[in-house]
């Protein structure tokens, strides 16, 4: 097959925060770098992040310590987070914030001119004592401010963008990854982008669920690509349900609204988090708050005619705080819930928000696979951001640690690629059969006729995941979901699109995305069913306790033969003492 080929030192898949931070590092170093993004970069899902980004600056409180931030992150992760990675992230957080500020990010300010910091869930001082103000923000539009700032810096650094190009698949080489097959959405042109280093920054996959805070574009493209290349995904059973998605619409209301003093109430007007978590209350970890809300709803204390949501009360904060600190969520609430939080509480419900698992990497963002119990670096492949599992979030991510993750590890990827190229990292040759393999999915959708529609399969997939793999899980439900998923997987093979145009064919993109959603859902289903304990966001009725003796380990899923494997959790930080196992509140 005759395919146009272009060569780059680095190809970055994804133009969100992680991809843009990596590209900035590389473009500034003078390397030849290309960013492939299926949407114009500022349409990436980072733009929707609201509440902020954590760093132990101590601006609001007078003092803070990255070690306390690290402790909170490990506790929040329910001990599944890798302590070497968490140490690296929390230690680098302050410098990362200052860099973003120097780039121009319009942070909110304190009276003394320093960056304003607010309270957020699970953030404490002195190893679990009182709440701390650690979350830097630009009102409640921090993701928007960050993404635009990073894109602006990339304009200044003259990075090369392939905007509205879709990454179809990784191209394997004898050793490692040779590059990617990319499709120009506007023209239908298909090219092989060969790279010394390919960096996946493809974000999350919340669209496997019916109700999600995620954008339409969050379809797990990197997960599908990695699985099809024979590489594993890690900890895919750990999906975070955000306590406050607007009921019905799914749109996010930031945890920052509770950080500023808002709280949740049930139909009796009771502030129920005081009962579930007397210490941190509404600012407990998200998994704890989400489960508490679901219990309230299930036990008949939900609000509304169907009793299927709870209420987030903000009106007591007053117009000043809401308009200054939470203007964006006021706008969203009026538009999507018909409620002005100045006057009335917002109807909210736990909503799929974030995947803690993903593509396993080390702290340099190098992708790992496992052979005979040993980690192996996949040559030429990196991953950063939500698509990666480094793992700094373990079984449950703390709010405002994701914006931190994407910039810290986007930068780490950029730094390591620079160093590797300097040390002679070359191109890897792809055999014609490897290129054919990477084109197979595209060819199938071209060929298939008169099958079921993409929307039919996608809707069923989302329903199965919502009903059988939600906030609370049992073997019984998951087995049912499994059977349905396997049948659906067969039906997907013959599904088809009617639109065969080469010109801006979004139906074809949605079809390719559906393959990735299915791969992500299967990985989730296999690993959720396998893990017979409750840890962080993975909560099972049939195994309600954390089981460190058997399950203090990362789980891995390979598509071939649906193989499951495990990796140990890293409990060896370099500079501080390991944080020992203990119970959470």
């Amino acid at each position: 097959m005759n395919l146009a080929t272009q060569q780059f030192d680095a190809v970055i898949v994804g133009g969100g925060g992680a991809g843009l931070r990596a590209s900035l590092e590389l473009a500034q170093s003078g390397l030849n770098v290309a960013v492939i993004s299926k949407v114009f970069p500022t349409r990436s899902h980072t733009v929707s992040a609201q509440g902020g980004i954590n760093a132990a600056l101590g601006n609001t409180d007078g003092s803070d310590d990255w070690r306390w931030h690290m402790y909170d992150t490990v506790m929040g992760s329910d001990f599944l987070g890798d302590q070497d990675a968490i140490e690296y992230m929390c230690k680098n957080a302050p410098q990362t914030i200052y860099e973003l500020e120097h780039m121009g990010l319009p942070f909110s300010r304190l009276d003394d001119g320093k960056i304003y910091q607010r309270a957020f869930g699970g953030q404490t001082r002195d190893y679990g004592k009182e709440l701390v103000h650690r979350t830097c923000c630009a009102a409640d539009r921090t993701g928007h401010a960050m993404l635009h700032t990073l894109y602006q810096r990339n304009i200044a650094a003259k990075a090369k963008f392939f905007n509205e190009w879709f990454a179809v698949d990784l191209v394997k080489a004898e050793r490692g990854i040779a590059g990617i097959i990319a499709l120009n959405i506007e023209t239908g042109e298909v090219v092989f982008l060969q790279a010394r280093a390919t960096i996946l920054a493809t974000g999350g996959a919340g669209r496997i669920f019916q109700s999600t805070t995620n954008a339409h574009i969050n379809t797990g493209d990197g997960f599908g690509m990695v699985l099809r290349a024979g590489l594993p995904l890690q900890d895919m059973e750990f999906w975070q349900f955000h306590p406050t998605g607007i009921a019905g619409a799914g749109v996010l209301i930031t945890e920052g609204s509770r950080g500023e003093g808002g709280y949740l109430i049930n139909k009796n007007g009771e502030r129920y988090m005081e009962r579930y978590a007397p210490h941190l209350k509404d600012l407990s970890c998200r998994d704890v708050v989400a489960r508490s809300s679901m219990i309230e709803i299930r036990e008949g204390r939900g609000c509304g005619p169907k009793g299927d949501y709870v209420l987030l009360k903000l009106d007591h904060l007053g117009a000043d705080v809401i308009n200054k600190r939470l203007p964006g969520i006021r706008e969203l609430s009026i538009t999507f819930a018909g409620v002005d939080p100045l006057k009335n509480p917002i109807p909210v419900v736990p909503t799929c928000h974030y995947l803690m698992g993903g593509i396993p990497t080390n702290i340099h963002a190098q992708v790992l696979t496992v052979k005979e119990g040993q980690d192996h670096v996949v040559e030429g492949l990196y991953a950063a951001g939500e698509c990666a599992c480094v793992s700094v979030h373990g079984a449950n991510r703390l709010g405002a640690n994701s914006l931190l993750d994407i910039v810290v590890f986007g930068r780490a990827a950029g730094l390591h690629v620079q160093q590797s190229v300097r040390e002679g990292l070359g191109y890897r040759i792809a055999a014609p059969s490897d290129i054919e393999a990477a084109l197979a999915g595209l060819a199938r959708w071209e060929r298939n006729q008169n099958g079921e529609s993409v929307d039919t399969i996608r809707t069923e997939l989302q329903k199965i995941m919502q009903n059988d793999f939600g906030v609370f899980r049992t073997a019984e439900h998951m087995m049912e979901g499994f059977k349905k998923l396997e049948k659906l997987q067969d039906r997907l093979k013959t599904a088809s699109i009617k639109d065969k145009s080469q010109c801006f064919n979004t139906s074809r993109i949605e079809a390719l995305e559906l393959d990735n959603l299915m791969a992500t859902a299967l990985a989730t289903a296999y690993l959720a069913n396998e893990r017979t304990e409750s840890r962080g966001a993975h909560a099972r009725y049939d195994f309600p306790e954390r089981d460190d003796a058997n399950w203090l380990k990362h789980s891995m899923y390979f598509i071939e033969g649906n193989k499951i494997d495990f990796r140990p959790v890293n409990m060896k930080p370099h500079e501080v003492k390991p944080i020992e196992l203990r119970e959470r509140e």
């Binding site: 349409r43 990436s44 733009v47 319009p106 001119g113 700032t149 304009i155 954008a215 064919n505």
Partner: protein
């Protein structure tokens, strides 16, 4: 509800046409224009082509012309619209297919104002200080989502898309002029003194009328002009 939607695929159509669709918006749980467009695409006609991403009015993908006025499909309530609901691509920009327009020139104009912070002093070890009052000056500017609703509603831009920066780009030009941390105000203003870049704005204020984020590019443009006057005096 009755929809009339602009269709054009250069591969198959000699010229654009309007296609009628009848959609049961209640049965399909549609509240916003975007819900309805996606329902039409998903259930009736998978060739209907549009951009969308966040579906909550922050990514700026789905700017389009709805019953004659530019706006975001995802934040426009169906209940506020008269039938038939007429949907067209953003005006004044080349159409790639259906509701998808070519935004190359729009982005070029954005880049022309050097939309990034420039500070000639060495960066301090920590953050640059900025008072809350100084920071407040960026409100109403930094929130732009680059949806192009404003620029594509501006007659001055329709006439001179290569020479007039347009409201979105000028809003960003002022965002950096207004930032106490940016030291390049003189260069930024000098960059706009030709007869077209800024001065083709005739104060029609279509931009203010359509901005889905409630921003005011005309005010920003006037502030740029005032600063230029001060410089000149």
């Amino acid at each position: 509800m009755q929809f009339s939607i602009y269709r054009y695929n250069p591969e198959t159509d000699k010229e654009p046409y309007m296609q009628e669709y009848q959609l049961d918006t209640e049965a399909n749980n549609c509240y916003m224009v975007l819900d309805a467009l996606l329902a039409i695409k998903n259930v009736m006609d998978d060739t209907l082509t549009l951009r969308r991403s966040c579906r909550e009015g922050v990514c700026g993908s789905d700017g389009m012309n709805i019953n004659g006025k530019n706006g975001l499909a995802c934040t426009t309530h169906l209940s506020t619209l008269k039938e038939p609901i007429v949907i067209r691509p953003l005006p004044g920009l080349p159409v790639i297919r259906d509701l998808v327009v070519d935004m190359t020139q729009f982005y070029k104009q954005y880049e022309s104002v050097k939309p990034y912070l420039q500070n000639s002093d060495p960066a301090p070890a920590k953050e640059r200080l900025q008072s809350p009052e100084e920071r407040t000056k960026l409100d109403g500017l930094y929130e732009c989502i680059l949806c192009a609703c404003c620029t594509s509603s501006c007659p001055s831009y329709w006439w001179n898309p290569e020479k007039f920066v347009g409201p979105a780009g000028l809003l960003q030009a002022y965002r950096f002029v207004a930032d106490s941390r940016d030291t390049q105000t003189n260069e930024r203003l000098a960059n706009l003194t030709d007869p077209f870049s800024l001065f083709r704005c005739r104060g029609i204020m279509n931009c203010v009328d359509v901005c889905p984020k409630g921003l005011n590019p005309t005010k920003a443009i006037n502030q740029l002009k005032e600063l230029m006057l001060e410089e000149a005096v």
